[in-house]
Symmetry: C2
Subunit: 590 residues, 2 copies
């Protein structure tokens, strides 16, 4: 927001990915929709886990898109997604993870020799995309992927649903009710393929590479290898720490909300322009990702003092630990009605940057000492006969009213419900992010709010890198230890949740804060761990089988990790390559 | 070693950076030589920590190299290093870390306003390199950097020494006794510069960028931005996980040994060719880095069974944890004299790949259960009347004799001294790597061996990423928690070391193993933490001031981190950028 937002332009400056957060927020993970197989309707003869019947992708493979459905042209972003899938399959290089790299699927021999490879008997030449015309009703245009990406959470399961069929005698088909559904199906279709080196006896000797489709239930997602901008949108500037490949990687595992904490106390040097934010929102939407902006208030706002010193208490007061959770100290004087006006202005100016129905107002880590030692604040409390919590309630009522008037549903961090007495200002629609501890979920549910699971003890990606506040000899991160993908995957979203409360659990979130993360390491910190979170919540409906087995999920995690690497994402290795090729060989006690 | 080494070619296959290890091994860290200032002889007027007297680098700046010293041509690798430094300074973009990006050094005003910038009064046009001709004696050629890189440890301090002078009235000079010394001086020279945006009033308006030299004592190293091959050598293949930029980054902080664990049980899929190894050794040597190869025996050798099944016990036996420290199980039957012959053959074939005086034979994590349940082994023990330890001693005697005959000094991991009774086979020259626990150093010193500090509780770069052996819910790494740079920096190399034993402490080492590390994340795991280890050991001589202060070192760590990023190394951020610009602002209690 280097450009002015409006006449009340805020001095808040978006961070360069400070606190980039991935979230499943807007999608109910507990429906019958799964990230993986339940919606995949393979021909029975194609259930190839035993490698009996491989299907090869024809070099002339095409995705057939009826350019007009019910007489209406298809949306631009779907057409772009189809082109990306075609390109990805054309350049496909993801190897099957086995010692013989998938050649075993072509072996006729029982002794697993790979020398006698059969020619590919089944070749897939086309994939048809079918959009259900019945759902269009009297619509004058087929809604874009982006339009579904910003739809309300409760409608997402239906919008994202698809049916994928790959019969042995082709062609394959994906059918869905929306462009978003087709896009999700395309992503799954990509993930079915492996590049297998096969020797073809031919006139020119024995050579050639082919692709095989394996309905291996342990493939999780697939690669997108297209260069930026191929979708018709522009990625953010190269110097940005939020490069489009983060959104591409999110789409690979069908993470569908990017919760973007876009301002913080220490972000004066790192800014996005409004245009850059809009480009990110557009790029995300075309990939089915809703961008939920967060302007954190009233804490984490020290930097407002640079332009509006009157509105900020305890700015840069030291020792900072006494007055803030991180340097520099400084919080909005929320008891002052001018602050509510200012924040409402910021919300008004920012809300339009994303078409999302949701907007986060933050509310975390309010420092009481800062406020209670602030004379202007204590005078206002006295004058109004308020406690600090009552002042916060009044501030929240005003600023949330502004948001709701703009058509947004507020999100808040858990403290807004748990730490400040009854907050009458919070509407029943408010969504609450559980972040401090997984055990805090129940108390929020008991107050009747919808929650998103983002507890630090499971889902904070940046734990375990050492403490970042300097002290002699260092120290560990506050949420040590490191949360491994297996730890994340072992989370039970329904732990201590009553049956009647389950519908209030609307998603999960893997959070990445940026004290020790920037463009150099965001990918290695994020991937493939966030993929485990995606699978956990997308398969949450599968009969309540929690906790899920991370040992069973390991081959899928290896697969998606190597797919990500193949597509240029710096996803880290989970085990030595030797182990990745041998499922079960590197399991404790095996 | 895809190519045959000799007729007894080993099936051991070098890993793709499996267990790449950085080490200061061959350099005594406790001499009067320092990584930083003691040898830098600045003009007193250039001690500019207060920003009073900046010196700008002339656009026409040149490094003047007397092409002939004592009538002899200069070595090729020094000339290449000079070109790299010239290019790095020409493209220099490292900003001074302050809110005003160094403009404060040009301000005449006391109020820190940066608008009234003075023109640069002091401009440096040239740096002279001076090689001391006296030391050449009757030599017929000036030794290359590489030749010094493979010199014995005890001679390194003198070979690496240099004197750098940057008087206000120029030119600057670096003098040294060797090409390696000049190279180290060049590296330090590069680290003195910052790119400062200065507005020059000129005919064309106010614009322009200039460089300023600041003798800020908290700069640690500098950037090398040259493309591969500019030195005349080739880097390894692009698919390798040991890219040359790792060696470039090591040279930036003057890490001078690359201890390369080049084989392991699970590395059959990842190989270097002999030519690739030679290229890495060459590339390293031209940057003052000695490459010490490790062929780990008799443990960590399961994969030998693929070609020599007779020589390996308990191959792939399960559960692997019973028979090995990691899958797959399998160890050389070292009681069998054929094994000693085989290993001697491997050593003979491998030793020549590096000109280093040192070669590691490993010796870690020998699994006793594997050997004692192995019939061929127990039969041999019975026949010879040996204990297992006595058999190991005999094996070590034979294989070390081969190495010593090849002119190599053996390195071993600590177990060879501490875990197997008296090992008469270990010569007094043997260097012992302390890795399990820092408290183990004393016991090895008490036995009279030289040691390198590489304890996991301080210097293992890969701790804290979660356990990599699969089990439900994951688990933490065996050496949890993560070792932060500040933890590493707080190490005291002389803790519990007697005065008389100090000379046995010959260096420190930051180790990176590769179970969860490959080309995607080796840089983020390694940097800038290994820079803290470099400074710790290079400044070890400064009066025994241990433990050193990580709070004081923090600005230097930020500086080298941003220099690394500027030169393309993915060094991770240690604190938010806001903190990096404000030394002391993000310190506990401040």
């Amino acid at each position: 927001m280097a450009a002015k937002l409006d006449t009340r332009a805020p001095p808040l400056r978006p961070t360069r990915a400070i606190r980039a957060i991935l979230t499943m927020l807007a999608h109910s993970p507990f429906t019958t929709l799964s990230l993986l197989l339940p919606l995949l309707a393979y021909s029975a003869s194609l259930v190839l886990g035993n490698g009996e019947t491989p299907v090869c992708l024809s070099p002339g493979f095409r995705i057939l898109l009826d350019e007009h459905t019910a007489g209406l042209p298809l949306p631009h972003d779907l057409k772009a997604a189809v082109k990306r899938t075609e390109m990805a399959l054309k350049d496909h290089g993801h190897a099957y993870l086995s010692p013989t790299a998938g050649r075993e699927f072509f072996s006729k021999r029982k002794d697993n020799s790979t020398e006698d490879l059969a020619a590919c008997e089944h070749v897939l030449t086309a994939l048809h995309l079918a959009l259900d015309p019945n759902v269009l009703g009297g619509a004058k245009a087929i809604p874009s992927i982006l339009s579904s990406a910003v739809a309300p959470a409760e409608s997402r399961p239906e919008l994202e649903a698809y049916r994928l069929s790959v019969p042995l005698d082709g062609p394959a088909t994906i059918s869905a009710k929306t462009a978003l559904g087709l896009f999700r199906g395309l992503t799954t279709f990509e993930q079915l393929w492996y590049s297998v080196p096969i020797s073809h006896p031919s006139e020119h000797g024995s050579s050639g590479t082919s692709y095989t489709v394996l309905s291996r239930p342990d493939s999780l997602a697939a690669s997108q290898q297209l260069p930026l901008g191929s979708s018709g949108s522009q990625g953010p500037a190269k110097t940005s720490t939020l490069p489009p490949q983060m959104l591409d990687a999110m789409a690979m595992v069908k993470l569908n909300v990017f919760h973007w904490h876009i301002t913080d106390s220490n972000s004066p040097h790192q800014k996005y322009s409004e245009d850059e934010v809009r480009m990110i929102v557009q790029y995300a939407g075309e990939r089915g990702i809703d961008v939920v902006l967060e302007i954190d208030t009233p804490g984490h706002t020290a930097i407002v003092a640079e332009s509006h010193p009157d509105l900020v208490a305890c700015y840069e007061r030291t020792p900072f630990n006494t007055y803030a959770h991180q340097p520099p100290a400084g919080q909005l004087r929320f008891a002052d009605p001018r602050v509510a006006d200012f924040v409402s202005g910021v919300f008004t100016a920012s809300a339009g940057l994303s078409g999302s129905r949701y907007f986060s107002t933050g509310g975390d880590e309010l420092n009481v000492a800062c406020m209670m030692e602030d004379e202007p604040t204590t005078e206002l409390l006295d004058r109004n006969g308020w406690t600090l919590d009552e002042a916060l309630d009044d501030f929240t009522r005003k600023t949330h009213a502004t948001l709701i008037g703009l058509g947004k549903t507020p999100l808040v961090w858990q403290e807004m419900v748990l730490d400040h007495g009854p907050m009458w200002s919070l509407s029943r629609d408010t969504i609450v992010d559980i972040w401090k501890d997984s055990r805090d979920a129940r108390a929020v549910l008991d107050r009747g709010y919808k929650i998103v699971h983002a507890p630090a003890d499971y889902f904070y990606l940046d734990c375990g890198q050492g403490g970042w506040i300097a002290k002699e000899g260092g120290g560990n991160s506050w949420c040590d230890p490191f949360k491994s993908w297996a730890r994340m995957y072992s989370f039970n979203p329904y732990e201590n949740v009553d049956e009647a409360q389950k519908e209030l659990v609307i998603g999960g979130q893997a959070s990445l804060w940026a004290e020790q993360t920037d463009e150099t390491n965001f990918e290695t910190v994020m991937w493939p761990r966030a993929a485990a979170v995606a699978e956990l919540f997308w398969t949450g409906s599968s009969g309540g089988r929690f906790p899920r087995s991370s040992v069973e999920a390991l081959p899928r995690m290896h697969d998606i990790r190597y797919r990500m690497v193949e597509s240029g994402v710096r996803a880290v290795p989970l085990q030595p390559y030797w182990c990745a090729l041998r499922p079960g060989a590197c399991v404790e006690g095996k």
